[in-house]
C-alpha cells in the first residue's frame, strides 16, 4: 500500500477522503502545543506566538538539546505524544481560533474535538506513543522556539518534519471517532469476559 503523505499547508479538501483508522504521514511543519499553551490561548485570551493555520500541532513535551540558545538553535533528542484528552476541554476553541488542521497526540479525544474536526475540517491523529526516538529522527530541524519561559516540555517547538508518522486517524472530518467506536466493542466484550471470570473466582465462600 502506498504511503499517504500530507504536506503543510493543508486544505479542507486534502482531508476529505481520510477516514478514522487510516494511516498517514506528515511532511512540512508541526508545532508542539500542550496544556499551558491551550490554557493561555483559550482562558487568558493570549494569541499563539506561532501561526498554525492550515498546519499541525503536536501534544508533546520533548527532550531538546540546546545547541545555541542565543541563535535559537536546538536539536530534537526525544519527542513523543502526550495524552490528548487533557486538551479536550480547550480543543474546540483552540481549533476555531488557530485554524489548525491536524492535532497529533496520544489516545482519543472527546465530543468537543469531534465537533471542531467536523465544523472546521480538522483531524485528530495518534502518533504511537513511546516511540520518541523514531519521532525525533523524523524531525529535520527545530526552526523556532516560543514561550520558552514555560520550560522544556511546554515550550512551543516548531519542527520541520519529513514523513512524520505513522499517524493514525482517531477523529476524521465527519466526526467519526475511532476510540469511541472501539470502546463500544470493548465494553460489550467486557461484560461477557466478566461473566466468564466470575465463574472461577468465588474464593470467599
Amino acid at each position: 500500500m502506498e504511503k499517504k503523505i500530507l504536506t503543510t499547508p493543508i486544505s479542507a479538501a486534502d482531508l476529505e477522503d481520510i477516514k478514522a483508522g487510516d494511516i498517514i504521514y506528515l511532511t512540512g511543519h508541526i508545532t508542539t502545543c500542550r496544556d499551558v499553551a491551550h490554557r493561555r490561548l483559550v482562558e487568558y485570551g493570549r494569541e499563539l506566538p506561532v501561526d498554525v493555520r492550515d498546519g499541525a500541532i503536536l501534544h508533546a513535551g520533548p527532550i531538546v538539546r540546546t545547541i545555541d540558545a542565543d541563535a535559537n538553535k536546538y536539536e530534537m533528542v526525544s519527542v513523543g505524544p502526550t495524552t490528548s484528552m487533557r486538551m479536550e476541554k480547550f480543543e474546540y476553541e483552540f481549533v476555531k481560533q488557530t485554524g489548525a488542521r491536524l492535532i497529533v497526540g496520544k489516545g482519543g479525544m472527546g465530543p468537543e474535538t469531534e465537533k471542531a474536526c467536523q465544523e472546521f475540517k480538522a483531524l485528530h491523529l495518534v502518533f504511537p506513543a513511546g516511540n520518541a526516538v523514531l519521532a525525533a529522527t523524523e524531525v529535520e530541524e527545530i526552526e523556532d522556539a516560543n514561550w520558552k519561559e514555560l520550560g522544556m516540555p511546554e515550550t512551543l517547538w516548531t519542527c520541520r518534519v519529513k514523513e512524520f508518522g505513522p499517524l493514525i486517524v482517531s477523529i476524521d472530518t465527519y466526526g467519526n471517532n475511532w476510540f469511541e467506536q472501539k470502546k463500544v466493542e470493548y465494553n460489550k466484550t467486557k461484560e461477557e469476559v466478566l461473566t466468564e471470570i466470575n465463574k472461577h473466582v468465588s474464593f470467599i465462600k
Partner: protein, 299 residues
C-alpha cells in the same frame, strides 16, 4: 574500600544504570513486545508494533531515551538488615537521580506540589520516591529503579470493596480500568494489581507487582489463577497496541497480595506502559553489583 569510596562508586553505578534503563528496555519487556508483534494479525496493530521495534532499535543505537517522558524516579529497595550502607542509601539514590538527569539527559519531571514549580533536577520533596523493605539476616541490597511516566501513572487507582463484592468485584475493577483510562496509558500494558486490607496497602502492592518479571506468577495458587484469568480476559477485549484494536491487549497481569480485615477487600491497580522502564540490581556488602534485568550490562 572505605565507606566514602563505596558510596561514591555506588552512586556512579546507579546513575549510569538509570540512564541505560531510559534507553534500553529490560530483557523480559523486549521479548514480550517481540512476541506480541510476531503473533499480531491486525494490519493497524502490526504497523504500531513495527514502529515500537524500530524505536527500541534506534534508542539503543543513538543512545537516547526511548520515550521522552522519563518519568519520576521510584526505587523499591529490599535492603538486608545488615547491609552496611543502609543509612546512606536514600542519599545515594537521590544523588544518582540528579546525576542521571544531567548526563543522560532525562526530562525534568519533578514539580513541587502547592508551590508548583519544576525543580529541574528530578529531585524534590520525597522525590525520588523510595519504597523500603527491610530483610532480616541479609547483608546485601536489591534495588528496583522504576521510571513512572505520566501516561502510565494516570490510570492508577484503588477502591476498598465490601467482601460481598468479592473477587468478582476485584475483576470488574481491573477490567473497567482497562477499557477506560488504560487505553491512553500506552498499551500493551503490564497490569499490577494489589489486593490487601486498605487502600494504601493495596496501592503499594500494585506498584511492587510491576517490579516482577513478565510471565512470573504469584506464589499463591489461587492468585496465580486469577492472574491468568485476568490476562486471558483482558486479551479477549482485543485492545491492541495503543488501545486502537489488535489481537491481544496486555504484556501481563501481576498480582501481589496481603491479608485483609474480614470486613473489607481492597484492590488497587498500577500499570506499566509498553515502554516499561524497570531495572533490578543487587549490590553485595562490598559494593559488587549484579544486573538482573538487563543482560550484557556489567559494572
Amino acid at each position: 574500600m572505605d565507606k566514602q569510596e563505596q558510596v561514591k562508586q555506588m552512586t556512579t553505578i546507579i546513575a549510569d544504570f538509570v540512564g541505560h534503563m531510559a534507553k534500553v528496555l529490560p530483557d523480559d519487556v523486549q521479548a514480550k513486545i517481540k512476541e506480541l508483534a510476531a503473533d499480531e494479525k491486525n494490519p493497524l496493530a502490526k504497523t504500531i508494533y513495527e514502529t515500537m521495534k524500530t524505536n527500541m532499535k534506534l534508542a539503543k543505537e543513538l543512545s537516547r531515551p526511548s520515550c521522552q517522558d522519563t518519568g519520576v524516579l521510584q526505587y523499591w529497595v529490599k535492603c538486608g538488615a545488615n547491609y552496611p550502607l543502609l543509612g546512606e542509601l536514600e542519599g545515594i539514590l537521590r544523588e544518582a537521580t540528579a546525576i542521571a538527569t544531567q548526563q543522560t539527559p532525562l526530562r525534568h519531571n519533578v514539580v513541587e506540589t502547592f508551590d508548583e514549580y519544576n525543580t529541574g533536577k528530578n529531585i524534590g520533596t520525597h522525590a525520588p520516591y523510595v519504597m523500603w523493605d527491610i530483610v532480616p539476616d541479609r547483608d546485601d541490597v536489591e534495588i528496583f529503579p522504576y521510571m513512572a511516566g505520566g501516561g502510565c501513572s494516570l490510570p492508577g487507582s484503588g477502591k476498598t470493596l465490601m467482601p460481598g463484592e468479592g473477587y468478582e468485584g476485584v475483576a470488574k475493577f481491573v477490567l473497567d480500568l482497562m477499557t477506560s483510562y488504560g487505553l491512553n496509558a500506552c498499551p500493551p500494558l503490564l497490569v499490577g494489581v494489589g489486593v490487601a486490607t486498605s487502600i494504601d496497602t493495596a496501592a503499594l502492592f500494585s506498584k511492587k507487582a510491576l517490579m516482577r518479571p513478565i510471565g512470573s506468577h504469584n506464589p499463591n495458587e489461587k492468585a496465580a489463577y486469577m492472574e491468568e484469568l485476568l490476562e486471558d480476559g483482558i486479551n479477549k477485549l482485543h485492545l491492541g497496541p495503543q488501545g486502537m484494536g489488535g489481537d491481544k491487549s496486555v504484556m501481563g497481569v501481576n498480582i501481589e497480595n496481603g491479608a485483609r480485615h474480614p470486613s473489607v477487600i481492597s484492590v488497587a491497580v498500577n500499570v506499566g506502559c509498553w515502554n516499561h522502564r524497570r531495572g533490578h540490581l543487587i549490590f553485595d556488602k562490598d559494593g559488587h553489583v549484579q544486573v538482573l534485568s538487563h543482560s550484557g550490562v556489567n559494572y
